[in-house]
């Protein structure tokens, strides 16, 4: 029970008292926006900001799931390959169904994506919990499996979506509702739901308790196996939602889809204030982290004083500075 008692007041304190540590990622975000404006005023133009936040949506959505996995004390390296695999399955299913279902093949394909995502997450979760294999190794294995499967499905090339569905599906990435791009709305909804589950439900508190100390959680009557497995299943669902938003952008899945996204996801989660060793999750911080990563990349192109050869180095430095700012603001 200790873990429950400890984590409950902490989460209610967060609602009423301002905490510099929690505000860290948002301060970093604000600083980056100000810096960007000084470098190039076009940076804050509505079109540019809408573009950048929209394309951060994939990483943000996946990172919400990763916040659960990481706060429960585990890790998932397979998410990038999983996006590619789910996108491939979804496109193949939609293409097969297009002649008989017409445009309805799109929602049917989305359902297939979600089911595939849940199953992939469940597989990861069971290998880690029931199989008792280190999360790093287990998901490194599934990462290779998903990547190989998408390469096999595409014969190394691309799986394009059927032309008859292309235009109908496009708005899911490029469309807007009340002026706000749809992927932004979807990631906001996913984050709100994630925040509710992590902060307000029993499961969320169990998740943090398992991440803080497996033994204490077990003595408190929390099932470590089911808690972590559910975290992986949530991760799988988030990856599926990201894949659903991904497919309409370029209308194809390739063996290089989602490559290295796992590292971006983990970086977003950690910039957001979630401890990599588990025990503490920050959903809104994660979202800020994902936007920060995408803004840095955008800023590199919009500024003129970084050589194309040094972009990655400058990005690395900015990420480390952002983490240091957070560390010392505590």
């Amino acid at each position: 029970m200790t873990a429950l008692i400890q984590s409950a007041p902490a989460s209610s304190a967060r609602q009423y008292r301002f905490s510099w540590a929690d505000a860290g990622p948002f301060l970093a975000l604000a600083a980056l926006l100000a810096l960007g404006f000084l470098i190039n005023p076009d940076f804050l133009s509505p079109t540019n900001l809408a573009n950048v936040i929209t394309r951060s949506a994939y990483i943000a959505i996946i990172a919400v799931g990763a916040t659960f996995v990481i706060s429960s004390g585990a890790l998932d390296l397979s998410v990038g390959s999983m996006v590619a695999f789910i996108a491939g399955i979804t496109i193949m299913f939609m293409n097969i169904m297009a002649p008989s279902l017409g445009v309805w093949a799109i929602p049917a394909g989305m359902a297939v994506a979600v089911v595939t995502g849940l199953l992939c997450g469940l597989a990861n979760g069971l290998v880690v919990t029931v199989g008792q294999i280190e999360p790093f190794i287990a998901t490194l294995g599934t990462m290779g499996i998903f990547r190989a499967l998408i390469t096999y499905m595409t014969n190394g090339g691309t799986i394009p979506i059927d032309r008859s569905l292309r235009e109908a599906y496009r708005p899911v990435y490029f469309g807007t509702v009340a002026g706000i791009p749809i992927p932004i709305l979807i990631s906001a909804a996913v984050a709100a739901l994630g925040a509710f589950v992590l902060y307000k439900t029993k499961y969320g508190r169990r998740c943090a308790a398992v991440g803080a100390s497996e033994d204490v959680a077990r003595y408190s009557g929390i099932s470590v196996v089911s808690t972590r497995t559910i975290a992986y299943v949530i991760q799988g669902a988030c990856v599926a939602i990201a894949a659903i938003c991904y497919v309409p952008r370029l209308g194809a899945a390739t063996p290089t889809t989602g490559q290295l996204w796992e590292l971006q996801v983990i970086t977003a989660v950690v910039i957001g204030g979630t401890a990599l060793r588990g025990g503490k999750g920050r959903i809104w911080g994660t979202i800020a982290g994902a936007v920060i990563l995408e803004l840095i990349a955008n800023l590199m192109v919009l500024s003129d004083f970084v050589s194309e050869y040094l972009v990655a180095a400058v990005q690395g430095v900015i990420i480390i500075i952002a983490m240091l700012v957070q560390r010392f603001s505590k």
Partner: protein, 316 residues
């Protein structure tokens, strides 16, 4: 009875000897290539398998064996396996890396096998009997020439380059050397790692940064797909040309259809593996002399000749 048995035995024996002779006469050509891990290598696998099928059907006394390997280390093992089980008359190889494959290929050369090297050279050029490759400098240069003509010698352009490698450097060098001294100005050049998603983002950023862009060059077709999507989303009409390179079927199809923004394409065709296999077999079967260096040019693919470069069944 006895004599009949003898006749049968002699007949069977003769058949066996004939069979042996046939097997011994069969020339074996091994083809060792990287496994399909992206569009271009997928094309190489497709064309190598197509060549093997066609040659095996056309020449009963030739056997072409295709072996794909997912890494340099695997390719070294594959070479050992191929040469251990039978005598190879010829080896056609697209090496994963130059350094690691040089010694293993030399070992096969030493047992008297004809060596054809494709695309990526070995560190010791004396090993190969035939070397066949495309021309990456021409890919950049020919694209630049077309762009200069089409834009009337002046204009503001942006460039997307791939992964920092010799291939990328050569294409960029060919392009930059050709536009030198003209009114074409490169506003920006950045890496997008031959990846559609990264190219999409980079093009969005270029569009945000520069209010007027006359043309875009992505030095690979995967990137061009991302570029076209970003331009379409922006609704901008100032971009008159968006060109790629490599010969992906989707882009060649655009050329065939007379696309206004992508009217031409420059090939670095994965089908070069097929050229190499056919030339090697021509040497084995027809005694056609083929030793030497063959460099395929990168002629502009236009609506007139696009059919020659269009492979609808290939994954690339």
């Amino acid at each position: 009875m006895l004599s009949r048995k003898w006749v049968a035995a002699v007949a069977v024996g003769a058949l066996m000897v004939a069979g042996q002779a046939l097997a011994a006469d069969k020339k074996v050509v091994a083809v060792s290539i990287p496994a399909a891990d992206h569009g271009w290598t997928a094309g190489v696998v497709y064309h190598a398998q197509a060549a093997a099928k066609e040659i095996n059907a056309a020449f009963p006394n030739v056997e072409v064996v295709v072996k794909t390997s997912p890494s340099a280390a695997d390719q070294v093992s594959a070479l050992e396996d191929l040469s251990a089980s039978r005598k190879l008359d010829a080896l056609v190889i697209l090496p994963y890396t130059s350094e690691e494959l040089t010694q293993p290929v030399k070992a096969i050369k030493d047992i008297g096998t004809f060596i054809t090297v494709v695309d990526r050279g070995l560190t010791d050029a004396s090993i190969q009997d035939l070397y066949l490759a495309g021309d990456n400098i021409a890919v950049g240069a020919n694209t630049a020439k077309f762009m200069i003509d089409k834009l009337g010698g002046k204009g503001d352009i942006v460039v997307l380059r791939g992964i920092p490698t010799v291939i990328d450097d050569e294409r960029i060098k060919g392009f930059q050397d050709t536009i030198k001294g003209t009114g074409i100005k490169v506003l920006d050049i950045q890496y997008a790692h031959w990846n559609s998603d990264e190219a999409f983002k980079l093009m969005q950023d270029y569009l945000a940064k520069y209010p007027h862009i006359d043309a875009v060059w992505a030095n690979d077709d995967d990137m061009l797909l991302g570029v076209l999507e970003a331009v379409k989303q922006s609704g901008r009409t100032d971009i008159k040309l968006a060109l790629g390179g490599n010969g992906m079927k989707d882009i060649v199809k655009k050329v065939i259809d007379g696309d206004a923004v992508t009217p031409v394409e420059t090939p670095y065709p994965p089908a070069m593996i097929k050229t190499a296999i056919y030339m090697t077999v021509a040497n084995l079967i027809g005694q056609a002399p083929v030793r030497g260096h063959v460099k395929l040019d990168a002629p502009l693919i236009t609506q007139a000749n696009a059919k020659e470069y269009y492979f609808p069944d290939s994954p690339f």
